[in-house]
């Protein structure tokens, strides 16, 4: 568990690097900002807007590649600190590597970590298909955390390119009292002006990397040397593209042993990122139903 690796020797995680600033990749350059700089600047803007306009913020930390990028961006936005709690809604069924990662980086990154355990599967809607029912535990865990801590804003690392219903999300997305999402009645959002006034008792979801792609996340992770969980890299011809609960997440065939390999592989693939997430594929609307009731 203490082993670390550069991205050419995948074992557990890449060392966190506290090196020369990359906030300005090419200080003094007249070149156009490249795409990663542009994405980063936009995400930092969104995080600062959230921090300025909402009172009780928390950031959801799933331990996956996206939420690690998000934490990294928060540290850039707030000059090294994450000035709000980081919330892990824990199903208790994550991979051991994920728990090891959490325990290490909560300390190294000085995170104010809140772990919220999820209720048992017996309490879930029995009409949902099995994997979706399992995933629904997370939604219920989230509701418990909201009730306990009274957050009015939850920062989540979802992206438009992951899944069609997420493509319809706003950057600041109001949730109903039960955490529900009404896709039919989303307020307008334009010119980087956000709706930041949740109705009493409800909360806003804030999506700072909504405009990123899977390849963007990997390219940025590589450029910034952000640590990752080793499961993302190929071992015995298989790797995880997306990490969820150990029992409902499956690896894909891949030879990608480094992030560069992943980027090359992604460039060629047409297989969706969440193809290894069982709950998305049980019925045509399973994921949408999960989201409408508050799933990320």
């Amino acid at each position: 568990m203490r082993e670390t690796a550069r991205n050419d020797q995948p074992i557990l995680a890449i060392d966190p690097i506290e090196g020369p600033g990359r906030a300005h990749a090419r200080p003094g350059s007249e070149d156009d900002m490249d795409r990663l700089n542009e994405l980063e600047a936009q995400s930092i803007f969104i995080l600062r807007e959230a921090f300025a306009r909402l009172k009780h913020l928390a950031m959801l930390w799933s331990l996956g590649k996206d939420s690690n990028v998000m934490i990294w961006l928060a540290r850039k936005a707030f000059f090294g600190r994450v000035p709000f709690p980081v919330l892990h809604v824990d199903t208790g069924k994550k991979f051991p590597e994920m728990y090891a990662f959490r325990d290490r980086y909560r300390t190294e990154w000085h995170l104010d970590l809140i772990v919220e355990p999820c209720p048992p599967i017996e309490d879930m809607d029995p009409t949902l298909p099995p994997a979706a029912r399992s995933a629904a535990r997370k939604t219920e865990g989230l509701k418990l955390a909201l009730a306990r801590h009274g957050f009015d804003g939850l920062i989540a690392g979802i992206r438009r390119d992951e899944e069609p219903t997420r493509a319809k999300e706003r950057v600041f997305s109001p949730r109903g009292l039960e955490g529900s999402w009404d896709v039919r009645d989303q307020p307008p959002e334009f010119w980087d002006h956000f709706n930041a006034t949740p109705p009493p008792g409800a909360h806003m979801r804030v999506h700072p990397i909504l405009h990123w792609t899977e390849a963007d996340v990997w390219a940025y992770t590589r450029r910034e040397n952000i640590p990752i969980i080793g499961l993302y890299l190929s071992r015995d011809g298989r790797r995880y593209r997306s990490l969820g609960d150990a029992d409902i997440t499956f690896p894909v065939a891949s030879q990608a042993k480094t992030i560069d390999d992943i980027l090359i592989e992604l460039d060629a693939t047409k297989v969706p990122e969440r193809s290894g997430r069982a709950m998305d594929h049980e019925s045509e609307d399973a994921f949408e139903r999960l989201r409408a009731s508050g799933y990320l």
Binding site: E18, G21, H24, M33, R75, G80, P188, F190, D267, E288
Partner: protein, 645 residues
Amino acid sequence: MYMPIAEPLAETHAAKARALIRIVIVGHVDHGKSTLIGRLLHETGSLPDGKLETLRSSSARRGMRFEWSFLLDALQTERDHGITIDTSQIRFRTTARDVVLIDAPGHTEFLRNMITGASQADAALLIIDAVEGVRDQTRRHGYLLHLLGVRQIAVVINKMDRVGYDEARFREVEADISSELADLGLTAQAVIPISAREGDGVALRTPRIAWHRGPTVLKALDDFAPARPMRELALRMPVQAIYKFDDRRIVAGRIEAGRIAVGDAIVVMPSGTAARVRSIETWPAPVAGPGPQWASAGESIGITLDSEIFIDRGDIVATAAMRPKAVRRLRARVFWLGGTPLGVGASLDVRIGTAGVRGTVVKIEHAIDPGRLSSLGAADIARNHVGEIELALTRPVAADPYSVNARTGRIVLEADGRIAGGGLVLSVDVAGEGTRKRATIVPVKSAVPAAERARRFGHRGAVVWLTGLPGSGKSTLGRALEERLFARGGMPMLLDGDTLRDGLNADLGFSAADRTENVRRIAEVAAHLARNGVIAIVAAVSPSAADRAAARAIAGSRFYEVFAAAPPDICEQRDPKGHYRRARSGAIAGFTGVSAPYEAPAAPDLAVATHVLEITAAVDQLERFLEEVEVLAGGERQASPDVSI
């Protein structure tokens, strides 16, 4: 240990090698947006393997004919209703670049979603059904593209298969939409005949549209230019927050325009307080040596200053010479999405940059439904309609007119905590109040009270703004009026547009922005004269209704728009300066009345038939008008003027 990654990423990775462009597809409901997107995904090889087959068989199972639009119908609710409800974003690649296609709903009810989608776009595809032609929502979307600042547009005329690929029908629709766009100051980069369902004109110019000489849709997408950060403009950094996590006091924000460097002298608006940039802060902090020395538009940064000045969220960091205005009143052209109509007296949250301030609507003009061309002249702006409003703010905020800076010159309106409208700032400082609030500028008041001047001149100060086509007789009328007023003991002063272009406005050309600035400067001078008791007679073509409205706002009260109403053919026939002749021969580009539009006043304070009346009669009419509005004391009371301010 830190090991910088020197080698470039793999050539194939999009983030490095390829440009990204965001394109919104808009148009009337059922004109074929989703079908075109489905077809584009297919033609560019962007569909996941087997997706097409799955959909074809799932359509067959439902007993429906396969439609390309099924590809996009991700949500159950959309399948039920058969229309796109919310903006969806789809990525694909052309040979040249990565494209994010923003699919905006065409249904009126979902205009807020169309706006959400279109506001993120660098360019737009406007789709029109060849059978139906231009419809309400085509116009509405065109108008909103104009308001949202999307300037690159390609028009796609779809369903050519339904009109037998008839070129004459295509030309007809092309002419219709081109003239509608021209009214909004927009020009389509291409107008393309297609059949999204059959594939003509999307990736290939098929024989059935062999008569088409322009690009295919894919080529048109590649011809759009991605938006660029506005580095060339004056510095604007709206402040998001001040962070004091440690001993540093960091001013955080995103640079919207221009650049900023360590050591720069800056001012913070609206207070006008000055300071210098001490550092640009980053995380991770540099291990050795100094941090970045400068940053430019598009970057989210943090700076520290050399003194502990008061600065807060909502302020704008700028340079002293080219600062935004401190604004208490502004005029804006807005779209309204709120549930109840927007009326005079409405109280709203107004957002400009990162500032939020309470504002009251004090005036509404030109409220119309952009889907229908007729102006209704309604008192309120209904849901999904547009109009021009004047807002009074509860405290000064920093802002620009849209013509100066598109980012800091637009507003967002919030009602009950929900975004309900937005638009472009046409002019600021309607009452000239904000400028007087500036901490560092203390305007010097004239030593002579306005009432004293009025007593001596026998009139109040005013702006008489003569607008009309070149050759309509504005200068002649202005000179004659000046003579008449002077003869009766008054203090008139002619500000002739051409004369001022020789000096005050010598740096300006004839682009829309320069024309706006030209009018603004003339208006400022005229307003200053009027405030000091002079009757400023402006003779300027001033072709833009918005510019004239801005001039009225600058002058405040006693601004009179006088229309020299000679019709175009007579003006051209007169052609006193030979300008029309040279414009017709192409020697003058962008000449108003020939190659640039003139927007005649919809409701001038006075219209003078300069093509019919003798000059004396025309001046008589003006003099009577000025008496009626009590700028001039009436003839019988001339001996003892009781005009007071």
